[in-house]
Structure formats: C-alpha cells, structure tokens
C-alpha cells in the first residue's frame, strides 16, 4: 500500500477520537518531556562543573601537604609543613614530565585602599601560576622573577576585589595596604568565576610567594603545589614521578605512607561529576518508567481501536488487503501517535527546562542528540507497543470481521 495514503488514513483515524488520542499521547508526552528536562538540567550541571574543573587550568596536578586518605591532616609531625622550597626546586628540575610548577601559600588578610577596606584571601605563588591556571590578565602585567627573588611588594588583583576597592576605577598602578604593608597593584586579573567549592575565585590578591611567606604569613613551607604536566597523555606518568620525587626528598621508608597528596584534575573532576551522574541516571530511569507507562497506554488504545474497526479490517481484507497491509496500517497509526506525542514532549521538555533555568537559576543545556534519542525512543515505543495490536488486526479472519457488528 502507498505510504502517504496510509499516513493519511492513520492521521484521520487519530483525529476521529481527538480527546482519546491526546490522553493516550499524554503518557508519551510526559515521559519524553521528563527525559529532555532531566538531561538538560543534568547536562547543565555537568557543564558547570566541567567549566569549574577547566578553570583549574590545563593538565593540572595538585600536590597538597598532608595525606587526605589517612583521615585528613594531623598524622605524623610536620605533616602540615611537608612541602618545602627544596621540594619546589626538585619538582622544577628533576621531574621530566612537569612543565611548570608554582608553590602556593594562602592567608587571609585585611586590605585597604583609601577609606575602603575588606578582608580577602592572599595567594602567594610563583610567576608561572596564572599561566598554569590559564588565568588571563585584564590589565597591567604579571609580576616578574625578580619580584619573586626580592620578595617585592607587588600584587595582582582579582576582579571582585578590584571592584570592591576601586569601583569602576583602574586599579593598576595604585598602592594598596595588606596588613598595613603597602603593595603596588601591577595587574588586574580576568574574571574566573565560582570555584567547585562554591567560593568566588575572583575575591583574591595574588602576590609573589616569597612576599607572602616573609612579609605576611610568616611561614616557611607551602600549602600546596600547582603543577602543569607536559600533556594529557603523560598525566599518570607525571603523577608517579612527582610522588617518587617527594617520597625521596622526604626520606620516607617504603613502609610509610605519603605525607602529601597528589591529585590530578581528572580525579577532582571525576569526584565532582560522579554525583551529578548518579542523579542524572536516577532521574532518567524515572523518565523511562513513565515512557513505559505511556507505551502501555498506546497498546491499550490500539487494541481498542482494532476491536472497534474489525469491520473495516474485514472490508479491507475482502478487497485484497494482505495481513501485512493491515499490520502496516495499524503500526503506522501507533507510530504516528507516539511520534506526535514525542514531538509535543520534546517541546514541553525544552520549554520546562528553560523555565527551570529561568526561575531557579540553574544552568540547563539542551542537547540535540538527546532530542533525537527521545524522538527515536518514542518511535520505538510506537513500534514496540503497537506491534501486538497491529499483529492481532492482521490475523483477523475476513469472514468473521465482515460479520462483526
């Protein structure tokens, strides 16, 4: 039989019982809409986490003092101050897979400019730090190796801090006071956004680590190292080399655990995304159940339709319709039913995820592939749940059907 004619017959049959058709579609509509909305919200959350991970920089490995896996810090003495200048020198010179290293010293401090003051976090790092973290400057210039060597009183200012202290004015070239020590602002950092932990990464002052250690914090060891590996393939090798070097520098016998923790960007992001993935699959399975229920609705209504139209089937068979023709006719009807349902569901899903992102300020990301998947799944639902009724119609006896009242 000719496809378009069959399609028209199907549409006409569906239009005949418009309310019934719509109610049947509702299951599919809700199922597909749920899938689309869940995936959009899940993808949005994932994209946000990924953006935060990416804000760490490229091929970044973090080394923290202390061993996280042994109940946090406080094991063995000196564990908090295990990362030294000697380690720093070693990482720079002795590890082939490491392309750049920056130590990190962190302290909080009161910062003033004129009559403005705020407390912000002070980050002491090397020249390479903003490079490793792919953190562009919005104005001015980075401090230099010489600044680091001489522990000069220079600072890069985060965009949030700059806004608070200077308003819309240009901070570069101004003198600010950190714990009453005057520092010259040499550069304005670009905006980095919210970190994975939820803090504002732009609420910061970056200064040479030497200045931070000697002039502000008064410490002699580092909190962590931020390290850039040469490439994504050598991350594991770099991680291993760093570990070996630090164990050797710290003279740890083989039986002792590490007194530091090495984490790659990947490991950090894995932890963060696994939670959102669990959530996503949970919601998706709920959506699938609702699609299943929708499919059962389709099968139910198609069975009713076959019974109602027994006589029509008999007439068609009498004038030469084969079992296959009848099968195709009813199958197309159920596919059209669930495809229209799927289409409406996609629209509803897209609209509702837009509404969710608008109202609740969640990021959503509508992925075209999932729209295709949803469309395909609703076609499959139509075929899967429409086959049995269509098969039943095709098996009807023409004589009986013609007599059916």
């Amino acid at each position: 039989m000719i496809f378009f004619v069959t399609l028209r017959i199907a549409l006409r049959a569906l239009k005949r019982n418009l309310l019934r058709t719509l109610l049947t579609m509702l299951g599919i509509i809700i199922g597909v809409a749920a899938v689309i909305a869940m995936v959009s919200i899940g993808n949005g959350a994932k994209a946000m986490v990924e953006a935060q991970i990416a804000s760490l920089g490229q091929n970044v490995i973090m080394v923290f003092s202390g061993n996280f896996s042994r109940g946090g810090v406080g094991m063995g003495f000196g564990s908090m101050s295990s990362l030294t200048a000697d380690d720093y020198a070693g990482l720079q010179k002795e590890v082939p897979e490491v392309s750049a290293v920056s130590p990190e010293v962190r302290t909080g401090a009161q910062v003033t400019f004129g009559n403005q003051n705020l407390s912000t976090s002070i980050l002491g790092v090397s020249v390479d730090y903003i490079e490793i973290r792919s953190w562009p400057l919005a104005g001015g210039a980075n401090f230099t190796d010489q600044d680091v060597r001489n522990a000069n009183k220079v600072a890069l200012i985060g965009s949030t801090t700059a806004k608070t202290l200077f308003g819309d004015g240009d901070p570069v070239g101004q003198i600010i006071r950190i714990k009453n020590v005057p520092f010259a602002v040499v550069g304005l950092l670009g905006t980095k956004g919210i970190s994975m932990m939820g803090s504002d990464q732009d609420d910061v002052l970056i200064i040479p680590y030497t200045s931070a250690m000697r002039r502000l914090a008064g410490v002699t060891s580092f909190r962590s190292f931020t390290i850039q590996a040469r490439g994504p393939q050598t991350m594991a090798a770099a991680q291993e080399q760093i570990r070996d070097l630090l164990r050797q520098k710290h003279r740890l016998p083989p039986a002792r655990d590490d007194d530091f923790t090495v984490r790659t960007q990947q490991e950090i992001s894995d932890t963060a995304t696994s939670t959102s993935n669990v959530m996503k699959w949970l919601l998706l399975s709920v959506a699938c159940v609702s699609l299943l229920v929708g499919g059962i609705g389709v099968m139910n209504i198609m069975l009713v339709s076959v019974t109602e139209r027994t006589r029509e089937i008999g007439i068609r068979m009498a004038v030469g319709a084969k079992g296959r023709d009848v099968l195709v006719q009813f199958l197309i009807e159920s596919i059209v039913l669930s495809l229209i349902g799927g289409l409406l569901g996609i629209i509803l899903g897209v609209v509702s995820s837009k509404v969710v992102s608008g109202l609740m300020n969640w990021p959503t990301l509508i992925s075209p592939e999932w729209i295709f998947i949803a469309f395909g799944v609703s076609a499959l639902v139509g075929i899967g749940f429409g086959y049995y009724p269509a098969h039943k119609a095709a098996q009807l006896d023409p004589i009986e059907s013609l007599r059916y009242e």
Partner: protein, 254 residues
Amino acid sequence: MPPIIQLEKIHKTYRNGDMAVHAVRGVDLQIEKGEFVAVMGASGSGKSTLMNILGCLDQPSEGRYLLDGIDVSRLGRDELAEIRNRKLGFVFQGFNLLSRTTAIENIELPMFYSRPPLRGRERRERANKALQLVGLGPRGDHHPNQLSGGQQQRVAIARALVMQPALLLADEPTGNLDSRTSIEIMGAFQELNEQGITIAMVTHELDVAHYARRTVIMRDGLILTDKPVESRLDAKVELKRLEATHTQTLTPSG
C-alpha cells in the same frame, strides 16, 4: 475458453469441538463467462459457505476450485488476498462501505492494495469511471451516510467493479433495500451482465433470483437443482409496472 468458475467435488467441514459440521459436501459447479447465476437455499443449506469459498475468503477442505483457470483451492492467506483483489468484486448485504470516507475513496480502496500500486491520478480516473457506470457520477464526494441505501449499494458495486474482476460476487445484495430499490439494483446487475460481466449472487428471495439467468438451489450442503431461469424478470419492465401500481393506488378511480 475455460469457465470462470469450476468447482470439483468441493467439501467444507467445520470442526466445532468434537463435532464436525459438513457445511458443503461435494459440490460440482461451473460458471461460464457472461453468466448471471443466483444461488438459493434456506439458511443452513451451505450457500453462505459456498459463497465464502467462491469469494476466496475461505478454503475448501476437499476438492478443487479453479477461478479463471487458476487453482485457488490450496493458496495461502496472502495469495488469496491477491486473488480477491485481482479477480473478484464483492457486493454485500450491508453495503460494507467505510464510513467517514467519501464514495470515491471507497471505490479507490481496492486499488491501494493492487500490485503494482496505481498512481493517484489513475486511481481517481478509474474510480470516477466506475461511479459513472453505476449512475452516481456527481456524488463522488458524498459520505455513505449522505447517500440512500440504493446509492450506497451502487457505490459498493462500483468498488467491486473498479479492478475489472473476472467475477462479481453479491451476497444478498437487496437484503437491506426496499422493493423498488431492489429492482433498481437488479436492473444495474442486469445491465452490467449484458455488458459481459459475470455475476454470482446469493439470495433467499425467489423474485430476486428471477432477475438472474440461472438458479442454483442448495440444500444440506449439496446442489439440489441447477437450471436456467424460466420467465426471467426484466428490471425495466418491473420498474414500470411498479410505477403503474403506484399511480393507480395514488389516483382515486372515478
């Protein structure tokens, strides 16, 4: 030229649990091209079963059935559907038109299932021609519920003829019609028959059978008599007579 229909020792047995019902028990029948045969019999005589076998809706349990020279007695469901499509046209008692579908679309229906399928324009042309043939030219876009019983049956006849079948099969074609319309439909059958169309018709009404050329009377699954119709009725004459009686009863004699 072979006969249109040749039945040889046709048996049909239905199993109803342990009981076997012999609906047809050894029927031999030949229908030549251009014949107009009425099959008669009381209910339970096996005429409906025979009609279903003739119409390739059912298969005989035993015997051989040649339709237009093709042995159809052992064909499967799909092959029978194709034979019905190409060789047979059905007219039923209850018209069996698809409601909510126009007359023209009803007539086009068999052409959707023909192999190879006909193109839209050719379908429409042939349907229109068939509609002209049964005298319903301008009513192609009417739905069945907008047509009288006689008109609906004409649409059904047009649908039966649109594939130019070897045989037109009618099952109580006047069963749902008043006497006047019945005569009109018989008139249409007689006209078609004169144009060379072979017709087999099942009926239990003796006067309807008199419009045919030959009657076959069945009883208990066998053919009782098979003879040409004597004193055949002509629908045109009968229609005039009917009108005359109408005028007589309507005009007060004075």
